[in-house]
């Protein structure tokens, strides 16, 4: 039996804000919808930007990739700020617990020597890759069109600094509580020949002015990097008794699964746009073909370096990841040229 609490019943005048009623009909709106849809101004800007008087303050023309209706895309995670920070607080707390365990049990010291070298010389330098992706995503969060899209970019930008910090914190532990390993990894990023094609690729993505091109290029590169280092090598690490590698990698691969959810929905929105879908498919085909070839070539020396350290088939995994990318875009109706391997 329930107890009956009497409250005053007042009939509301309306269920939500008018722009949501216009879009979704007369129903209560979610907090995601109230905090996202139509937030960005679309008309009547007062002044042209001093830094680019040819454009408006916000404009769909900051990218060639466009949607007829920006809000045909919504984040499948329904992330507005509160659920976003809550989810990330959990992720970082889980990683903190992992790290505490790794420290307590001296797990980094127990890594087989080859895996220890792999972590130092191949994985830790990638924290700079993460940091660069923050800048790419922040640029997209400013110049993108429509809050449902830019909000995903804004959170992704913060995620990338978070990922860089996950790698850095692991690196500090790995270095026995010092910054020595991080310093070494930075030198690798800057000077090691195997990393220079990747660094060049990253710097070129950073100066790409079209936010759509930059984000897609970043995503294609992510798929190769996450596929190789945090998925394929994760498995190999477990088989090789390098448990701490896997324990760190799981948090990054878990993050990437989350990242894929909204990014895949965005691709779907781009290619299924009633008016611009075909143009978007052609554009994506060209962006992805170019980036995949560049990124794959840039990562081959890194994979070769990994293969020189551990017997984990990194080069083969990279090639597989590239094939999966071609197949995934084909499924969207986007033709991507298979890169020469």
């Amino acid at each position: 039996m329930q107890f009956e609490l009497r409250t005053q019943v007042i009939e509301p005048q309306r269920k939500t804000f008018q722009h949501l009623i216009d879009r979704y009909g007369d129903r209560p709106a979610s907090r995601y919808e109230e905090g996202t849809i139509d937030l960005q101004a679309r008309v009547n800007y007062h002044y042209r930007p001093l830094w680019d008087p040819s454009k408006e303050i916000y404009s769909p023309d900051y990218s060639a990739l466009k949607l007829t209706d920006a809000y045909s895309f919504v984040d499948p995670r329904q992330f507005y700020y509160a659920p976003y920070v809550t989810a990330r607080a959990d992720l970082h707390e889980a990683f903190g617990a992992t790290l505490a365990y790794l420290d307590k049990r001296g797990m980094f010291q127990r890594l087989p020597a080859a895996w220890s070298s792999l972590f130092q010389d191949v994985v830790l330098p990638l924290r700079h890759y993460e940091a660069a992706n923050q800048m790419i995503a922040s640029g997209a969060a400013r110049y993108g069109w429509g809050t449902s899209i830019t909000q995903c970019f804004a959170y992704a930008a913060f995620d990338r600094i978070g990922n860089a910090q996950i790698l850095s914190r692991a690196g500090i532990s790995f270095g026995g509580g010092t910054a020595e390993s991080l310093d070494l990894a930075k030198r690798t990023w800057l000077e090691d020949e195997a990393f220079q094609p990747l660094r060049k690729h990253v710097e070129e993505m950073l100066v790409e002015k079209d936010w759509g091109v930059a984000m897609v290029a970043s995503d294609v590169t992510d798929r190769l990097i996450y596929g190789l280092f945090y998925t394929a090598l994760d498995d190999a690490a477990l088989n090789a008794g390098a448990a701490s590698y896997s324990l760190v990698a799981q948090h990054l691969s878990q993050w990437f699964t989350d990242q894929r959810r909204w990014f895949d929905a965005l691709y779907k929105a781009w290619v299924s746009d009633p008016e611009l879908g075909e143009a978007n498919k052609a554009l994506l085909g060209s962006i992805v073909s170019t980036t995949l070839a560049t990124a794959l070539a840039a990562l081959q020396p890194v994979a070769a370096k990994a293969d020189g350290l551990v017997d984990a088939g990194a080069a083969a995994s990279l090639a597989t990841a590239a094939e999966q990318i071609v197949a995934a875009f084909a499924a969207l109706g986007v033709t991507v040229e298979t890169p020469a391997s």
Binding site: Q13, R14, A41, Y47, I57, T86, Q134, R142, I161, E203
Partner: protein
């Protein structure tokens, strides 16, 4: 077998923070610096060493998300409880919500704009320290936009004036005041934005722009908004330290930056101060239960804290108080009276309501403004006679707007309460009108920018606002019956009475 891990030599907090943030930076070698950071050279600011930026706070992503998630959990619990218990009925009066309508229509969209442009700084500033601080602020600002919307969403369900705030922000005449202010900052370069928003808005004027709404909420039974205000406080204090660090950094980097920064302080003080005219009238006229007068707020938060504190410190760098600050100090005696008088007469075209202040209210205003309010009281006494004779006063024509701040030209000369202030500049054969020396100064420095302004009245005359007649324009604004005009007898006023009568009958609330 047990392995005892060697005791790690711990990094100091500062070293650790640096390893987690700044050390991620590298100098590009495959693209030029100019390609990597194309926006930080055109404004004329010289930065010799970005590493000299002192991190205003040391937050890492794990700490930030943990702390913010806990704050939001508490805030949303309050919002849910208030909504469930029909908490809106315990406000002082439905007319209090006029302040919140103005806030949602005028201020929340600015939080969103700040979110977008701090993301720009998180991409485009050359130093990793200020980039990360900007990234955090960009996230805080979307938090503020969304938590404000969620806080006020419940009022929208029961009261007029909230329903189309986004549509209105981009179109309605009085909302072009805050919108043009922020568009001005967004269309500037990254350094000017830092001074405009990071320093002037978030530091210099925040206690005048933001805090009066939150204090008004706490005095008038608006628990959700008050809780939001408290919840935003720790974010705001981070933003204030960022703003202060930004200005010090620019001033310390090169002496040549000083005159540029001084000009931006002059400009953004006056630009922001003009937006506070809306806050001034809110404090003095819209709150059923008063917090403090505008004059008192201005003296405390600006004259004492800023002129008496901050600018004493900035004098070391050769920075002087903003130009035209003397005008603002003169205006504190009458700004709110003139601003409300304008809104009172045009509220039939607004999404808030106005009313003649009660006798008790006017007595309070007389106490607060013994030298000036008696003049305005005679206006209100006359208006009361009009109303008694059945003629509540609305202006049917359209006002001339100041080209810069976009407030209707209703402010007077400081010493002449009945002489409207009007300044003009000729640029390329066109005449532009201003409400004040401050706005004229701003125009004269950047006429090419300010002549672009989307002035709502001009736009109506040019036929860009749906119709040539008032009902047509109001329709284009998405205004509905009950949104504007006189409060007494309005939809909100009637519902308020009805709901309280119901409560009395059922013995609830």
């Amino acid at each position: 077998m047990t392995i005892t891990p060697k005791a790690p030599r711990k990094l100091t907090m500062k070293q650790r923070y640096s390893a987690l943030t700044r050390d991620l930076e590298w100098d590009p070698s495959y693209v030029s610096d100019e390609e990597m950071f194309p926006l930080t050279s055109f404004e004329g600011i010289t930065i010799h060493d970005w590493s000299k930026w002192e991190d205003p706070f040391r937050l890492t992503v794990d700490a930030y998300t943990k702390y913010q998630a806990e704050k939001d959990k508490r805030l949303y619990a309050v919002l849910d409880g208030f909504a469930q218990s029909q908490g809106h009925l315990s406000l002082t009066d439905a007319s209090y919500l006029n302040a919140m309508k103005l806030f949602l229509q005028g201020v929340s969209p600015l939080e969103y704009q700040a979110h977008r442009n701090f993301a720009m700084l998180a991409r485009h500033l050359n130093g990793p320290g200020p980039r990360f601080a900007s990234l955090c602020q960009s996230l805080d600002e979307i938090r503020h936009a969304q938590t404000e919307i969620h806080t006020l969403s419940n009022y929208n369900k029961y009261y007029a004036g909230f329903h189309s705030y986004l549509h209105m922000h981009d179109r309605v005449w009085y909302l072009s005041v805050p919108k043009s202010f922020f568009d001005d900052a967004l269309s500037a370069g990254p350094f000017e934005f830092l001074i405009a928003i990071g320093f002037s808005f978030e530091y210099l004027l925040t206690n005048l722009l933001f805090v009066p709404f939150m204090s008004g909420a706490s005095f008038n039974g608006d628990l959700p908004t008050m809780t939001f205000g408290f919840s935003a406080q720790s974010d705001e204090s981070r933003h204030m330290t960022l703003g202060l660090e930004a200005i010090k950094f620019l001033l310390e980097q090169d002496e040549k930056n000083v005159p540029l920064v001084q000009h931006w302080i002059n400009k953004w003080f006056w630009r922001g101060y003009r937006v506070t005219a809306l806050v001034a009238q809110m404090l003095d006229y819209m709150l059923p239960r008063k917090v403090m007068s505008w004059k008192e707020a201005f003296e405390l938060y600006f004259e004492q804290q800023m002129l008496g504190g901050l600018f004493q410190d900035l004098a070391y760098y050769g920075i002087t108080p903003p130009l035209h600050v003397d005008k603002a100090m003169q205006e504190k005696e009458y700004l709110s009276h003139q601003a409300y008088w304008i809104l009172y007469q045009f509220s039939h075209a607004a999404a808030f309501t106005t009313s003649v202040p009660s006798d008790e209210h006017m007595d309070w205003l007389t106490e607060q403004y013994p030298d000036t309010f008696p003049i305005y009281r005679t206006l209100w006494e006359k208006e009361k006679k009009n109303i008694a004779a059945g003629g509540r006063h609305f202006i049917r024509g359209l006002p001339q707007l100041c080209q810069v701040c976009q407030i209707p030209m209703g402010f007077t000369e400081a010493d002449e309460p009945f002489i409207q202030a009007q300044r003009e500049s000729i640029f390329e054969g066109e005449r532009y009108n201003f409400c004040s020396d401050g706005c004229q100064y701003i125009f004269d420095h950047e006429p090419v920018k300010y002549r672009q302004a989307w002035l709502p009245v001009h736009q109506i005359y040019q036929g860009n606002c749906g119709a040539a007649d008032l009902p047509g324009v109001l329709d284009w604004y998405h205004m509905k019956p009950g949104d504007g005009g006189e409060y007494l007898g309005s939809l909100d006023n009637q519902n308020w009475k009805k709901w309280h009568d119901m409560a009395d009958e059922t013995g609830g609330n």
